[in-house]
Amino acid sequence: MPTLDQVAIGCKGIISSIIGEDATAQRLMEMGVIEGEPFELIASAPMGDPLEIKVQGYRLSIRKSEAALVLVQVS
């Protein structure tokens, strides 16, 4: 299963799970990045990092290092 930093721009899908048990994982979830939630990878910044995703109906900038903690299922 790919992580969010590995999928192509424009991909849509469902978040499967968040790796990790620390505060970073919890922050991600508080911001609505939780399993079962649909997402769309909208864009990446000029140097490829961070990424812009759409989740819970809003846009979130997320660095690749954090995106690597998000397992996704591309539809």
């Binding site: 919890q26 846009r59 979130l60 900038s61 660095r63 290092s65």
Partner: protein, 713 residues
């Protein structure tokens, strides 16, 4: 301004909300700028308190910093939680909570509301950005939402002053009828364990607090509460966590999952979203503004405009302020008799006040720009575009604009770091911002490049040197940030997760309020300190004004008409002053830099502001303080010899001129910056640290420049 009165009788509410919801606008509109900043030791966040009267009810509001979740992981975040729950000894428990939520993004905004619902306090929900929600096809049934929640739900548009009376009525009504919010649902095992922890908390407890202790992964809150309330909590918490884990419950995700599931069920019947996703305005604009090529082009265009405005628009305004100051000075000189009082008022106080006011144009222009960019939603895109570059030195994209602004002036640059939420990132940015070559260094560069690095070189040479001087800051600041972030400011900060808000038209009242607030807080807090520093420097250059042989310098200067004699006396006086004596005694210290005592004194005296050094050099090189002609100073510097002795070699050569410029590029000879750092960090430690590290760096770099320079040049 009305004082915030009758604390015992007024109804106290705490205002909570996610960032970008218009929370500050609501606070400003409700309190009408009638607020003050609360002082809480040990934290860097600004918490504002305000008040208003509605139908003869006094209401007091505490503005809690914008947050997505009340999950404290740092002292700053802990303060917010303490204030909401009434755990802070400096504040009483609020009587109710006012939660503002963005209607166009209701689910995620309600996450914080569900936490507020568990505090045991009545809650009012204010919904902002209803127009944006409607525009994107989202329809919300407010009455149904209010009915299902059992609490007042009010749609507001703060900058257009819509829904405010309804909101105030709802607040007032709470005084007589407490409408309690529902409790978000957790599984029965979690509820049981939470109750166990709640029973340990005694009268300080709430469902929210007990839940937080159970769910938090790092144990920060538990440790803090054990200390502050002298309770034993951790063994029971660990026991509960083990119990839940054996039942197969994932404690990391259970809170977020349960809350979002509860929210979904609550909201579903109250909201209707368009079936097919329409490509909104923001989507279309973002395709350009975050584009790899066009996005960067547009970004640099905006930065260039902001910069040009800072230099071009601010310059005449600053000159007018300077002229105004001179006019007042001349007026005072005409009215007052010659003497210490006149000197104190004109050379000390007026210079001090002028030195404060002169920053206002830059602050107003920069904050005008920043507030517009922030309020329309572009600021987050700028941070998004620049994040990769800034991440290399351990910062985030949000540090870029404050650092760039510092090229104009570090004072507004340091103020602009307020947008950086992460405490360590913000502090690192503040510490390195003064390394960027600000406009006050320009006169120093221009003078010395003109005197020593122009004649006999190619036409392109002075420009290259000037560019290199600016380059020193551009290279050193990121390196220093990297160093600080990996040493004294080490630690895993919060992940850089940033909402990219929906674009909207900036509101004039929001922009005005931010500019006004930045200017007033600068004038009030940093301003008084800057003026005081200027007066202090005046004093150490004025006293003693009688020499050991009994010569009274001010009297003798007044007695003679001869300009040359006046200048000579002035020089002798300054040499005899406290600062002059210190300057002379430090000559051994500055000698390795290729400087004599006169440059030492000029440097010391330029502590309040770098640009003062040009004026001080005029005095110590015997030109008098009103040297009109910079060309004259330039020639004198070219001919100056060590200790004014004609048999000695020339004082300045290329290595010593370069060493002086390098020193000024890196030093923190700017009292205003230090005072603003004091204002923003709330302690004297950081300005002292900044001064010491920058001065040491400047000294070493200048010495290296000189010593290497004389080997080759």
């Amino acid at each position: 301004m009305n004082e915030i009165t009758a604390p015992s009788k007024s109804f106290r509410i705490a205002l909570l909300g996610n960032p970008n919801t218009g929370k500050t606008t609501l606070f400003n509109v409700l309190t009408g700028l009638n607020h003050r900043v609360g002082n809480y030791p040990g934290v860097t966040v600004e918490i504002k308190k305000g008040s208003f009267v509605h139908q003869s009810n006094a209401i007091e509001i505490l503005d809690i910093p914008g947050t997505y979740s009340l999950a404290p992981r740092s002292p700053d975040e802990l303060l917010s939680v303490e204030l909401v729950l009434g755990l802070n000894p400096l504040e009483k428990v609020p009587d109710a909570l006012l939660v503002i939520a963005d209607a166009s993004n209701l689910e995620r905004n309600l996450y914080l509301a569900t936490q507020a619902f568990e505090t045991g306090l009545p809650v009012i929900l204010a919904l902002s950005m209803v127009d944006l929600a409607t525009a994107s096809g989202v329809k919300i049934n407010f009455n149904l939402l209010s009915e299902k929640l059992g609490i007042p739900v009010v749609a507001i548009h703060a900058s257009k002053r819509k829904g405010l009376d309804e909101l105030k009525n709802a607040i007032v009504a709470l005084q007589t009828e407490k409408r309690m919010p529902p409790e978000p649902v957790f599984s029965k095992d979690v509820v049981r364990c939470r109750a166990k922890i709640l029973s340990l908390l005694g009268d300080k407890g709430s469902l929210f607090l007990a839940g937080r202790l159970l769910f938090e992964t790092d144990g920060f809150l538990a440790q803090q509460l054990e200390q502050k309330l002298s309770l034993s909590l951790i063994p029971a918490i660990l026991e509960c966590r083990t119990e839940l884990k054996t039942l197969g419950i994932n404690l990391v995700s259970i809170e977020a999952k349960s809350r979002y599931a509860w929210i979904r069920e609550l909201v579903q019947p109250c909201i209707s979203k368009p079936e097919s996703k329409v490509t909104g305005f923001t989507d279309r604009v973002d395709r350009i503004l975050t584009h790899k090529v066009f996005g960067m082009f547009f970004f640099f265009l905006i930065m260039f405009s902001m910069f040009t405005a800072l230099f071009v628009l601010a310059k005449p305004l600053m000159e007018w302020i300077g002229e105004g100051k001179n006019l007042v000075g001349q007026g005072l000189e005409n009215v007052l008799p010659d003497g210490m009082l006149r000197s104190l008022l004109v050379d000390g106080l007026l210079e001090g006040v002028g030195g404060v006011v002169v920053f206002l144009p830059q602050i107003v222009i920069l904050f005008g720009f920043l507030s517009v960019l922030e309020d329309c939603g572009y600021m987050a895109r700028a941070a998004f575009l620049m994040d990769r570059v800034m991440a290399k030195c351990g910062l985030s994209g949000k540090s870029f604009i404050p650092l760039l602004s510092s090229v104009a002036c570090a004072v507004p640059g340091v103020l602009a770091t307020r947008v950086i939420e992460d405490k360590r990132d913000r502090l690192a940015t503040i510490l390195v911002a003064p390394l960027m070559s600000c406009s006050a260094r320009l006169p120093v560069y221009v003078l010395f490049i003109g005197a020593f690095l122009t004649e006999g070189y190619g036409w392109w040479f002075p420009g290259i040197v000037l560019f290199l001087m600016y380059g020193i800051g551009f290279v050193t600041a990121p390196l220093a940030a990297m160093l600080f972030k990996s040493t004294i400011l080490k630690g895993k900060g919060a992940p850089f997760l940033m909402e990219l808000p929906v674009y909207k038209t900036p509101s004039f009242s929001v922009v005005f309020a931010r500019v006004y607030e930045a200017s007033v807080s600068f004038l009030k807090r940093a301003g008084t300190l800057i003026a005081a520093t200027m007066v202090l420097i005046w004093a150490v250059l004025y006293f003693p004004y009688v020499s050991s042989t009994g010569e009274n310098y001010p009297e003798r200067i007044a007695a003679t008409e001869n300009k040359a004699e006046q200048d000579a006396l002035l020089l002798e006086w300054k040499k005899n002053s406290f600062l002059g004596r210190v300057g002379q005694s430090i000559e051994p210290v500055v000698k390795p830099l290729g400087w004599d005592w006169r440059i030492g004194v000029a440097t010391l005296a330029s502590f309040p502001a770098r640009e003062v050094v040009v004026g001080t050099l005029s005095i110590v090189f015997g030109l008098g303080k009103d040297a009109q002609d910079e060309q004259q100073l330039l020639e004198i510097l070219q001919k100056a010899r060590w200790n004014d002795d004609p048999d000695q070699p020339l004082l300045f050569n290329v290595p010593s001129a370069l060493s002086l410029m390098v020193f000024f590029a890196l030093c923190c000879q700017c009292g205003s910056t230090l005072m603003v750092i004091r204002q923003e960090t709330g302690t004297w430690f950081w300005p002292a640290f900044t001064f010491i590290y920058m001065t040491s760096l400047a000294y070493l770099a200048a010495m290296l420049t000189f010593q290497v320079g004389i080997l080759f040049l």
